[in-house]
Amino acid sequence: MTSTLKGITLKGSAELVAEFFSFGINSILYQRGIYPPESFSRVTQYDMSLQLTTDDKLKNYLANVVSQLKEWLFDCTVQKLVLVITCLETNEVLERWQFDIECDKSAKEISAPREKSIKTIQDEIRSVIRQITATVTFLPLLEIACAFDLLVYTDKEQMVPDKWEESGPQIINQSEEVRLRSFTTSIHKVNSMVAYKRTDSA
């Protein structure tokens, strides 16, 4: 962020993407009502007002994940980040917010900054978050108590750090998928999409 007035470096890109994930996850949790709306506070970011959680446990968890994710983004070993929403009663996966990350691994060798201004990247991020907000209109209502989990798809060689463990992909049985916008920092490209359980009425 500091030296990216003209271009963008790998470090800056990793930080931008991690920041996007932090805000994106917060807004999904707010929009989908996984946590009560009164536990969120309004913040201005990317020239738009966003909701950030004030729940300390959640904050702590997100900070942990995002910091680890930043490292992986810097190593270019992360492939996907998935936000899984599961029903607590039936343990059924109801929604999967999947962010495919394409890393330009050549950026690790060539340290020269890329020609892309932060302004344009933030514009792209803003449109992605807008779309996430707009998806509430067609996603089925979550009427039962739900919880979320964050899965990170990494390269196989990646060591599993402490406090982390391997997990299943948590695939939805009979799902509908919707592709959302994508953005790129010219080093990391993030494709977003949401899959949700097909309801009988739909």
């Binding site: 996907k80 998935v82 343990n91 919880a147 990646q158 982390w164 997990s167 992909p169 939805i172 899959a195």
Partner: protein, 725 residues
């Protein structure tokens, strides 16, 4: 100024004088002598006047200059006086200045002294200064340290303030949550109380209901028993009636029995006969069936035979037409095998031919290459020959020339000889001649060599031509062979080509199919990746152990466990209430409930149930009364009609005491033995009274197997005994 003016005057004077002194032109003298004389006089006068004026003027001037000179002297004296005066003043000044200088020198000395003092003090001051500076630095350092510590303290203070703020927030949040929790708790407790009250009421009602039900069931059982007794009695009545009628018909029946027995014997014989006949019929039928089957088989076999004959004929025709001695399928198979073998042999031949064709092709191509080489060689040789021919021609020409030259030379020599027969030049000439002859010989030998070469070359070309011809011949033969082989192979090649084409088409089709499949699979793969599938070889999925889902699940589990515990606790509570409850409830429901800490308001349901229960009880009571009445009536009616009073001593045991009994204790005991039927069989038990009735028992029960008959007989017997006065 004056001097200059004077000079000018003098200059004019001089020029004027010179003008005057020069002689006058004679013409004027001559032309105007009178006039000129007058003018000259006037002029002289004027000039004199002018001179006088000038003299006066100069004198005055002189006087003036003198006066000026005196004035100048005066001024000079005055100036000198003044100068002296000034000199004395200046001397005085000088003295004063010297004095002052001395004063100043003294002062300077004093000042120097002072300066020295000052320097000393300055050095002292500098020393002091240094000390002070050091002190100052120390102090500054101390101050900086304090500043640093102050900053750290400030930072810690700010951090602590932040923490305090956060803690306050958390405290507030927690307060809020606590208050909400308290509210929830209160509401839950209220609900619990309500539920307990309800539960108590319900349990109370349940108990009352159960007691009512139990009484009800008892009544029902009683009713059932009574009904059963009633039905039994009715049956008995019916039995008695039938017995009576049967007894009346016994004699007729005996007769009939005899008749029937006879009939029976006759019928048995006839039945045996008929069974024998039936068996015979059966045997005949079977035979018939077998016969029919054999007939069908026969027809089928005939049909088959005809078919076979047809086949055989066909085979024979085939054998005749083909000219082979095919009589049997074995022959055919042998033929087929032979044909196959022949085919195989032909195929082998074909293969060998094709291989030969290929080898021939190869050799043909080789030979073609050789032929081309040979042709090129022949061409080269032809060229060589041509060049040789040309050379030969040229050489012939040269030879001709040389011979001509030689002839010429000879003629010259001859002429020389004839000319110089006398002279002494002959040796020289003979020398020349010899030289020339030598040259000639050399040329001749050269010519011969060339000719030899030519012939050689011609021979070579001839051999090459021969070779070429042979090669061409070979080529033609090979071509012929190839064409013959090609014609024979053409059809096969065509077939092969068509086969290969088909294969290619098949392969193309398969390729397209595979491409489509590949596309489909790729689509599927993309869909799978959309759904979140991954390649387990390259990718692994990670998540934090303490993720919100797990936390929420754990919380849920804990909650469920807590709820379960509560449920078990409540169940136990209920059980204890049930154990301790009934007495208290029956004594006084309200106080009992109070005593147990539960107070459920009577609900509409409970009231309804109570009403229902009351009505049921009433109905029960009425039924009981009705039943009792009816039973009594029934018993009396039974007693009056049958003459027997039936009592139930124990379950399944009935005591019958007759109206006409001689003693009160005379009674019969019947026991119901359960059997498959609904009623079962009644057995007479041995009593004191029954022992006396051996005859009747033997007749009616053992022989006739009829209890009503027995009872009726007994009644009649007792009646006759009582009424025989």
């Amino acid at each position: 100024m004056d001097i200059e003016d004077n000079t000018t005057v003098f200059a004019t004077l001089k020029s004027f004088n010179s003008f005057l002194s020069c002689p006058e032109p004679p013409k004027r003298h001559s032309d105007q002598p009178a006039g000129s004389a007058n003018l000259q006089i006037n002029y002289k006068r004027n000039m004199e006047l002018l001179d006088a004026a000038e003299r006066v003027q100069s004198k005055s001037q002189y006087i003036k200059l003198d006066q000026e000179k005196k004035q100048m002297e005066l001024s000079h004296k005055r100036a000198r006086f003044e100068l002296e005066k000034v000199a004395t003043d200046s001397a005085q000044d000088l003295e004063r200045e010297v004095d002052r200088n001395q004063d100043l020198l003294g002062r300077i000395k004093r000042l120097e002294e002072k300066e020295e003092d000052a320097a000393k003090s300055l050095s002292e001051q500098l020393g002091n200064n240094r000390v002070l500076r050091k002190n100052l630095d120390d102090l500054n350092k101390k101050v900086e340290e304090r500043d640093v510590s102050l900053n750290t303290a400030n930072q810690t203070i700010s951090g602590l303030k932040d923490e305090i703020r956060e803690l306050k927030q958390t405290v507030q949040n927690q307060d809020c949550t606590i208050s909400t929790k308290n509210l929830e708790n209160q509401s839950l407790q209220e609900q619990l109380d309500l539920q307990r009250r309800r539960y108590q009421q319900v349990s109370q009602l349940c108990q009352s209901l159960q007691s009512a039900q139990s009484s009800c069931s008892e009544h029902v059982i009683k009713i059932k028993e009574l009904e059963r007794r009633l039905s039994l009695q009715e049956q008995d009545i019916a039995l008695v009636k039938t017995m009576r009628s049967e007894v009346a018909r016994v004699q007729d029946l005996d007769k009939e029995v005899r008749r029937l027995r006879d009939d029976n014997a006759y019928l048995r014989e006839s039945r045996e006969n008929s069974s024998l006949l039936k068996e015979e019929v059966e045997g005949l039928r079977r035979k018939l069936e077998r016969m029919e089957k054999t007939k069908e088989d026969l027809v089928n076999s005939e049909l088959e035979k005809e078919r076979l004959i047809e086949k055989l004929q066909a085979w024979e025709i085939l054998g005749q037409s083909t000219g082979l001695n095919i009589r049997k399928p074995e022959d055919l198979s042998r033929e087929v095998i032979q044909i196959q073998q022949r085919e195989i042999a032909l195929k082998e031949q074909n293969y060998t031919l094709s291989s030969r064709v290929r080898s021939v092709d190869r050799s043909q191509s080789q030979l073609q290459g050789e032929a081309s080489q040979q042709r090129s060689k022949a061409l080269e040789e032809q060229k060589k020959r041509e060049t040789q021919d040309a050379l030969v021609r040229r050489l012939q020409k040269r030879v001709l020339l040389l011979t001509k030259e030689r002839d010429g030379m000879r003629s010259i020599l001859e002429s020389y000889d004839c000319e110089l027969s006398h002279t002494e030049y002959s040796p020289q000439l003979s020398k020349r001649l010899r030289e020339a002859e030598d040259i000639l010989q050399k040329t001749q030998s050269h010519y011969e060599e060339m000719e030899a070469q030519l012939t050689k070359a011609q021979e070579e070309t001839g051999t090459l031509k021969l070779q070429l011809q042979t090669v061409e011949l070979e080529l033609e033969s090979v071509r012929k062979q190839q064409s013959s082989v090609a014609e024979s192979n053409w059809a096969m090649v065509k077939e092969e080509v068509s086969l290969l084409r088909l294969k290619i088409e098949d392969v193309e089709g398969e390729r397209q199919r595979l491409e489509e499949q590949n596309n489909i699979l790729e689509m599927r793969l993309e869909r799978h990746s959309l759904q979140g599938d991954y390649d387990p070889v390259k990718t692994r999925v990670l998540h934090l152990k303490m993720n919100p889902t797990n936390v929420a699940k754990q919380q849920r589990q804990q909650e469920t466990e807590a709820l379960r515990e509560e449920v078990t606790r409540l169940r136990e509570h209920l059980r204890s209430l049930k154990d301790a409850g009934p007495l208290a409830l029956q004594d006084n429901p309200h106080t009992g409930i109070r005593g147990l800490g539960l107070s459920l308001p009577p609900s509409q349901e409970v009231l309804d149930l109570r009403k229902q229960m009351e009505s049921l009880e009433m109905r029960n009571q009425r039924l009981k009364e009705v039943f009792q009445r009816k039973i009594q009536e029934f018993r009396t009616v039974c007693y009056v009609l049958t003459g027997y009073q039936i009592d139930v001593t124990t379950e399944t045991q009935y005591r019958l005491s007759s109206v006409y009994a001689e003693h009160m204790d005379d009674s019969l005991l019947f026991k119901k033995v359960p059997q498959c039927g609904s009623c079962g069989i009644m057995q007479l038990m041995e009593t004191e009274f029954s022992k006396t009735l051996g005859e009747m028992v033997a007749l009616h029960l053992h022989h006739q197997k009829s209890i009503p008959a027995f009872l009726s007989a007994l009644t009649l017997d007792l009646f006759s005994r009582q009424t025989t006065f």
